[in-house]
Amino acid sequence: MRRPLGIILPILLLIVWEIAARSINNQFILPRLETVVPVLLSPTVDILGTGSLVHNALVSLERVGAGFLVALAIAIPLGVGMGWSQRFDALVDTTIQLLRPIPPLAWGPLAIAWFSVGINSMVFIIFLGAFFPILLNTIDGVRAVKRTWVEVAQTLGASERQVLSKVVLPGASPTIWTGLRVGFGIAWMCVIAAEWLPGTTSGLGYLTLYAYNFGQMHYIIAGMITIGIIGIAFDLLFRSVEDRWFCWRGLER
């Protein structure tokens, strides 16, 4: 019953959109549905020489995947270390807190200077977006692992390495997974912004910005909808994994 209810508002929204678009009659403010829908229905057709929606979506996904994997590879070990060792946490935490509030895109000019234009600087910005949520959730997850589990393992003679890999990491995994989910969401937002950096010639973010130059709002909205749909799809994917593998969370008491 929840799904049918949830669909009512989007349909209403579409109707309101079309009515508003017709009455405003200014496609720069709101293009009509009938200019946007054909673009979405033909996702393999080239748009302004920038490539098709599908092509650009794949390009963006590739970039986000790369940035996300780098973030994951650094944030999880670092988070486990910070969550496990108070001394290590004391050493690193201040630096992390100083860097965390800087919006990833503010690094744009430096990213270009350090990593040159193109994929590397974009990956850097996406990495920054995904890094902090993964890190903070990993730290939280590690700290929240029940002391008793750790103590039991230690009493039974487990080495620190064994405790970490057999108890702490699995115990923290539901929270880490949440971090990955949030991190991917932010990374996906960052890829759009990263593609606004000079030197980019493809990607959904680039496509929307490029269409802006010619006032092609229907392409912009089609791009935005594609961005949204892909975002939702990945969130559902992360959530279904969460439901299947980490449903024990909250049941362990």
Partner: protein
Amino acid sequence: MKGMRLLLIGCLAVLLIAAGCTTTQQATGDVGILYTKGTGPMPTLLATKQIDGYIAWQPFVEVAPVAHIGKVITYSGELPPDDRWKNHPCCVLTARTDLMSSNPAFVDAMGAATILATQYVTDHPSEAADMVADWLAGKGNFTYGNITVSSVDVLDRAFPTVKFVNEPSDQWMNGQVEFVYALRELGALTGSLKNSSDAESKAILFDTGPYTRAMAMINASSITVPEAEANPIGVGYLLSDHHASLFVAVKKWQYFNDTYGIALKPEDPTATRPDLVDLLVKGKKVATLKLIPADAGPQLMQLAATNTIQVAYVGNPPAIAAIDKGTPLKILMALNNEGSGVVVITDSPATDWASFVQWAKERSAAGKPIKMAAPGKGSIQDVMLRYALEESGLSVKEVQA
């Protein structure tokens, strides 16, 4: 006799002005200028009446009439004062000096490829417009509400307003020096060009060697094969038909290769906007070029300053400002003259510059000064609009959105 008297009066007036004894024009109104960091937001701002007009480079001037959101009141060559901006310099080819000294023949070859492509553009304007439409929009259509226009048609309209030339003539250099003055007035020059004499400015800005040598090679029908570059060379450009020679050089590479033995061959021949091209001289690959588009000149100059790009197709003020700040760059030749235009909203009473000025004065008197957008402070478009407005007795105020 009468001419003599006029001349005397003229000289006297100039002296008085120079001495500060009289004001040239009492400002009789204000105009606001809004900087939009490139042309991107302009059509939208105009269509939603957040601005009353804009000055932009082509083809974004034509977007307004085609979308029925504005009309062109004048192209940049006709802006006042009379003949002041006729054939005004616009975009230029620049290269980093370290590249010029490490591989001069490479820079000469780039110059030759550009000159040959410019010749092709002037000889075959409609074919060139077609190729530019392909580069900028995949020859796709622009849709504005119920109106759909082919990008080819838009480029066909824009093309005749741009003059494609390469020769770094004396007149052209003097025109460039005018921009040095303009940028000084805006406080944009703080380095080597802050107090330089005209001759010094020219020495700092230009190196016409590559142009001379490229012309010699073209005339001799033999391009020297440069030393191969191991690393890719970054080539920046703007998405404007001003840089048609680059687009045509790439799109028409086979023709240039067969006819002149020099070509910019795209690595992916199916790409509408290739980003990797090979410089071929006499069939031999000399270098991989990474073509890097940007929204506006200052971005390109930042990339040049960090050595991300070594060659740039760019507007002259960003190049002048970058060289002033110490970026090791030289202006090698012209790419185009003119090619910008002033657009106002459709329901404006203005139809030409004179009625535009009238309109601006009325709006200012009514306490609602008009607001014009320009791509960036100190851009060619900004400089010309400021000069023209001040010449017409309007003072310019920078405004926020």
